[in-house]
C-alpha cells in the first residue's frame, strides 16, 4: 500500500473554549465547598458548624460568577432568556436541564444560609438536603453535557459525571482548606477556626484522591483498549498535545503529589495539609482543561 496524504481540508473550530473549562471548575469547587457547609447542619457533625457560613458564601460567590461567564460566552448573550421560556425549552437538550439547575442551586443555597443565620435547625436541614442534591446535580450535569456527544470519543464515557463529581469533592475541600488557612492568618486567636478541621478535611481528600485516581485509571483503560479514535485521543491528544494539563497538572501535581503528602508525616503539618489542598484545587482545573479542550481537539482536523 502506497502512502496517502491529505493535501487540502477545511478546518474547524473547537467550539467550547477556556471559559467552559473555568465554568466547570467553578461549579465543581462550589459544590464541594457547599458539601462542607452542610457537614454541621445537615449531617450533624457539630464541630463543622463554625465553617458553615464561610463555606456557603464561598460556594454562592463562585456560582454567581457562572452566569456571567456563560452568558457572555453565548453568541447572542441576550437570548439566554430563551433557555427559560417554555416554548423554547427542549427537554432532551442537556443544557436545558443545566440552566434550570444553575438557577435553582444558588437560590436553594441562599435559602439554606438564611435558615442557618436564623438558627432554624429543621428548615436548615431540609433546605440543606435540597441544596446538596441540586449541588451534586449541577455538577453531574457538567459531566453529562460533555458525555452526551457520541462523536467526541474522549468525552463519551459514563465515567464523566463521576469524574466531575469526585473532582468537585476534592477541589471544593482543597479550596476550603486554603480559604480557612488564609482567614486564620488574619484573625485573632479566639476568632480562628480550629486548625484541626483543616487536617481532618485534608484526610477526607485522601479518599477522593484515591477514587479519582481509580476513575482516571478506568478511563485510561477504556481509551487504550478502545477504538482507533480513543487510542489516538489518548496517545496523541492527551499524552502529547495536552501532556502538561493531563499528565503533569492533573496526575502528578493534582493527585500523586498531594496523595504522597497526605499519607506521609507531612500531613500533620499545616504547610503539608495546605500545600496538598492547593495542589488538588489546581490539579482539578487541569482536568477540566484536557477534558473540555482535548475532547474536541482531534475532530477539528476532520
Amino acid at each position: 500500500m502506497g502512502e496517502s496524504i491529505v493535501t487540502y481540508n477545511a478546518f474547524h473550530h473547537v467550539a467550547w473554549g477556556t471559559t467552559i473549562s473555568v465554568y466547570f471548575w467553578l461549579v465543581g469547587a462550589s459544590a464541594g465547598s457547599f458539601v462542607i457547609s452542610c457537614f454541621g447542619w445537615v449531617f450533624g457533625i457539630k464541630r463543622y458548624k463554625p465553617l458553615t457560613m464561610t463555606a456557603s458564601v464561598t460556594a454562592i460567590i463562585m456560582l454567581l460568577l457562572v452566569p456571567f461567564l456563560l452568558t457572555w460566552d453565548l453568541g447572542k448573550p441576550i437570548r439566554f432568556i430563551y433557555l427559560l421560556i417554555p416554548g423554547y425549552w427542549h427537554s432532551t437538550g442537556p443544557m436545558a436541564w443545566g440552566t434550570l439547575l444553575i438557577c435553582l442551586y444558588p437560590m436553594s443555597m441562599v435559602v439554606y444560609s438564611y435558615f442557618v443565620l436564623q438558627n432554624n435547625q429543621t428548615f436548615a436541614k431540609v433546605f440543606g438536603i435540597v441544596a446538596i442534591v441540586l449541588a451534586l446535580s449541577t455538577h453531574w450535569y457538567t459531566g453529562v453535557v460533555m458525555e452526551l456527544n457520541p462523536g467526541r470519543f474522549l468525552n463519551h464515557t459514563a465515567l464523566a459525571p463521576l469524574l466531575f463529581l469526585t473532582g468537585a469533592f476534592i477541589s471544593g475541600i482543597g479550596l476550603m482548606n486554603v480559604i480557612v488557612w488564609i482567614r486564620n492568618l488574619f484573625r485573632s486567636e479566639e476568632n480562628k477556626f480550629d486548625p484541626a478541621l483543616i487536617f481532618e478535611m485534608a484526610s477526607f481528600m485522601v479518599y477522593g484522591i484515591v477514587f479519582d485516581i481509580f476513575l482516571l485509571f478506568l478511563d485510561f483503560m477504556q481509551t487504550v483498549y478502545g477504538n482507533q479514535n480513543e487510542v489516538m485521543g489518548h496517545t496523541v491528544v492527551l499524552m502529547e498535545i495536552f501532556r502538561f494539563p493531563y499528565l503533569w497538572l492533573t496526575m502528578v501535581i493534582g493527585l500523586f503529589v498531594p496523595l504522597i503528602i497526605l499519607v506521609s508525616p507531612l500531613k500533620k503539618t499545616m504547610t503539608g495539609a495546605v500545600t496538598a489542598s492547593l495542589l488538588v484545587a489546581v490539579g482539578v482545573y487541569g482536568m477540566r482543561i484536557w477534558w473540555v479542550l482535548g475532547g474536541q481537539y482531534l475532530q477539528s482536523f476532520y
Partner: protein, 289 residues
C-alpha cells in the same frame, strides 16, 4: 433499498421533532448521493454554496477534502465532498437546548437563526463538523451574526422543484439529489444498486449523504490528523490565527499549550464589549421602539 412499513417505535427518535422517515411509505426523505468516481475536485460545489448564501471567509457549508495516494509514477488524487449529513437521528437536534435546530418532516435538518443563542452545543454534538458559527463582522449588518449556521440541502430551492445549488453546479454530475423514498428517483436507484457508504456509520446517526466509491482513508478521522502535508499543517495554524476569536479554543500546533489557553481566555474577554453593546442596543429597542 426496500420501502418498509412505518416503524411505530424508534428509540433513537427521542428529542426529534419528527421521527426518521427513511424507507417509510407515504413520507419524503430527501438525500444526496455523491459519486466519487465522477468528482474531479473542481470545488464548484463549494463556490456555488458560498455564493448562494454569501458565506464569509473561514466557514463552509460544503467543502472538498483532497488526498493524494500512491507513489510516483502511480499516484491518484482523491476527493471527498463534505456537507451536513441531514441525519435521520441527528445528535445536534437532540442536544439543542432551544430547538433552534430541528428536523423537518421531509428529512432536512434545519437551523432557525431567530431561536439560536449561539451556545454551540450543536457544533460540539455534530460528529461531521458540519456546523459553524457565523462571525461577528459581516459585509451586511442585516445578515445573521454569532448564530450557528449549516447546510440546509437548499430547502428554498427544493421546495420550488429545483435541486440544491451544489448539485446544480457540479460539472461532473457527481452529486445527485432526490427523494430516497421514491422508488423512481435516481438516488433511490443508486442507493439500491451501488455499493454505497456513509460517514461514521457506527454512531447510528443514519446519515442521508451516501458516497459511491469512497476511499476508507479519506473517510477516517484519525487519518486526517496523522497524514497531512506540511502545507496543510501551516494552513491549520493560519486558520487558527486569522479566524479565531469568539471564545473558540483555537490551539495552534507547535505552540505552548497553556499560552494558547491563556490567549483563548483573552479572546473571550475581548468579545465582551461588543456583545455588551449589542445587548444594550437590544434592550433599548425593546424598551423604546
Amino acid at each position: 433499498m426496500a420501502i418498509q412499513e412505518p416503524q411505530q417505535k424508534e428509540p433513537r427518535s427521542f428529542g426529534l421533532q419528527t421521527p426518521g422517515t427513511k424507507g417509510v411509505i407515504g413520507k419524503k426523505r430527501y438525500a444526496m448521493v455523491i459519486d466519487l468516481r465522477k468528482c474531479i475536485g473542481c470545488m464548484s460545489c463549494s463556490i456555488a454554496c458560498k455564493t448562494e448564501y454569501g458565506l464569509p471567509l473561514g466557514v463552509w457549508r460544503t467543502w472538498v477534502k483532497v488526498m493524494e495516494k500512491g507513489g510516483y509514477p502511480v499516484t491518484k488524487r482523491i476527493f471527498m465532498p463534505r456537507l451536513c449529513n441531514h441525519c435521520d437521528y441527528p445528535v445536534c437536534v437532540r442536544n439543542c437546548p432551544t430547538q433552534a435546530t430541528y428536523k423537518h418532516e421531509d428529512g432536512f435538518v434545519l437551523q432557525r437563526y431567530n431561536r439560536c443563542i449561539g451556545c454551540r452545543t450543536c457544533m460540539v454534538a455534530c460528529p461531521y463538523n458540519a456546523r459553524h458559527l457565523l462571525p461577528e463582522k459581516r459585509t451586511d449588518d442585516k445578515l445573521p451574526r454569532m448564530v450557528v449556521d449549516k447546510c440546509t440541502f437548499c430547502i428554498h430551492r427544493v421546495k420550488k422543484g429545483l435541486v440544491p445549488s451544489c448539485v446544480q453546479a457540479c460539472v461532473g454530475g457527481a452529486r445527485i439529489f432526490g427523494d430516497l423514498n421514491d422508488p423512481n428517483s435516481e438516488v433511490h436507484k443508486l442507493v439500491s444498486t451501488e455499493t454505497v457508504t456513509v460517514l461514521k456509520p457506527e454512531l447510528g446517526t443514519s446519515p442521508s449523504v451516501y458516497y459511491v466509491g469512497a476511499d476508507w482513508e479519506i473517510m477516517d478521522e484519525p487519518h486526517s490528523y496523522t497524514n497531512r502535508t506540511a502545507q496543510s499543517k501551516a494552513e491549520f495554524n493560519d486558520f487558527k490565527e486569522y479566524h479565531n476569536g469568539d471564545a473558540f479554543a483555537d490551539i495552534k500546533e507547535g505552540e505552548n499549550l497553556m499560552a494558547e489557553v491563556g490567549k483563548n481566555w483573552v479572546g473571550y474577554l475581548k468579545t465582551i464589549p461588543h456583545k455588551a453593546k449589542e445587548t444594550f442596543q437590544a434592550f433599548k429597542i425593546f424598551l423604546f421602539d
